[in-house]
Symmetry: C2
Subunit: 320 residues, 2 copies
Amino acid sequence: MAKTKNYVIGVDLGGTSIKVGVVTKDGKLVDKGFVDTLAHKGPKTVVSQIIKGINLVIGDYKKEIAGIGIGAPGVVSMEKGTVENPPNLPGWKNVALAKLVQDEFKIKTLVENDANAAAVGELIFGAGKDLDDFIMVTLGTGVGGGLIINRKLYRGQKGAAGEIGHMTIDYNGPKCNCGSYGCLETYIGNNHLVSAVSKKLESNRDSKIYELLDNNLNNLTPKVISDAAQMNDQFAKSVIIEAGKHMGYGMASLVNIFDISNIIIGGGVAGFGKLLFDSIKETIKERALKPISSRVKIYPAKLKNEAGIKGASSLVYYKA
Amino acid sequence: MAKTKNYVIGVDLGGTSIKVGVVTKDGKLVDKGFVDTLAHKGPKTVVSQIIKGINLVIGDYKKEIAGIGIGAPGVVSMEKGTVENPPNLPGWKNVALAKLVQDEFKIKTLVENDANAAAVGELIFGAGKDLDDFIMVTLGTGVGGGLIINRKLYRGQKGAAGEIGHMTIDYNGPKCNCGSYGCLETYIGNNHLVSAVSKKLESNRDSKIYELLDNNLNNLTPKVISDAAQMNDQFAKSVIIEAGKHMGYGMASLVNIFDISNIIIGGGVAGFGKLLFDSIKETIKERALKPISSRVKIYPAKLKNEAGIKGASSLVYYKA
């Protein structure tokens, strides 16, 4: 019986949509679906939507599901299965999400912060499979982080550890949504990056980015910058190199503090590829303490498409 | 027999002198001595000097010594008892210091990096006695750190973790000895602080610091700044408040990354007292993520005089 439980379900709970998938033991996504979060209707509705989402995909696999993993925003207690005050999900205070879902399906359910779930996903299925220790950074709208120490997720006193995006790299830097200044996120978070590039484009009128955007700056995304760099656009390349420097400033501090030499980088901006990674590496070499900097290795995340679902699903296989 | 072993020996190995003391189970120093390090003569001589230093104080206590702890600069492997490439100790590559001392005295000997030993000292004897997790920061010529997680020293992959002084708080900041820029140490390390204050004094001619120095800026130390602040000198106070802000920028990043809300601060600059501590607290409140910042507590280190000896001695009682 237990031998037939070859699948896990992953739920990626976002502020606007809930993505759900069925994942194999090897981290392959075999089925997926999504529903609206309906966050404005409060936690009860959101939980119903999660259940609805799971029902979209569970059908044929029901007897073969070893567990359900949920990646949620906010501070999560994995032991208690509760989610506290998630940003973008109004009305939640402390919701026993794991229990509610588990009671519905009678299947073991685990919940973890989404950035932490991404780190566990790389540990179980991805670039961290053979690493004992690594720092996981996810570059998206926000810059998230997760820390794996001795193959365990480091959660801190209340499960809120790993907020790498809110490490200050210039205390006089741009104001961050969190209230602080010069957080790493204010340099390489998608929105900040795009708006900084928009401004600089005014004095780089010959950049291929204009062509790619049909001169409409509102269409600017990290992908467009990446495409322009592929076309050898010097301005786009300089943007990516600078993003790598900012990342490197932060990562150099982190490796000095943690003495962890493995860094896994995922999320959209990681699509900047080799140019970004080389710039990060070079900056760390220049900035981190010598005995550590020589050991530093940077890995692109392996879970790319639907990393949120896969990361969440991997929680079922994680041994706390 | 075991019951009578009420003392431990602590050795604080520095670049110019070696301080040795006999310490009780409660962390009280009952005897001390010091010898020159003679660092320029290489590791063999330094080891002889350590043994000479221990012989200065061990006399009456010999049969009552439960162990010897050594705090050394550089990267230390506590398991192997080796010290690698310590700064200020030329000619060392990899010295099995613990074994050499243990063989001499036939007493269990442990060696640890000095900043880590300071953290263990607070854990065993000091402000961290009742704390499960804390960040220890030692403000001296360098800015050192040690991380206690779940009452264990966090050492990282190679025992080099906790280099809090080399966290960048402004990537365009002053050049650091380590080769990077804007490290926390370049703001609040003694030498950097003193030289920054010296420069600013030129435009603060009415500061009481001039009187205290007999107009000789070469005599400037953190102590003098502290004394002037005690005399209500506005410039001196502003220096201390600014030092607290710089510390706060770094500490806010750290609490966000670690989700550890206890910070213990020791070393000379910690003598700036309440003015410094209040400034640090306020800055963390302004800058750290709300769920963490409300929990942050800052403690002055309890091991003050001869903290190096006491911290080293505490290694004997530390359960790894």
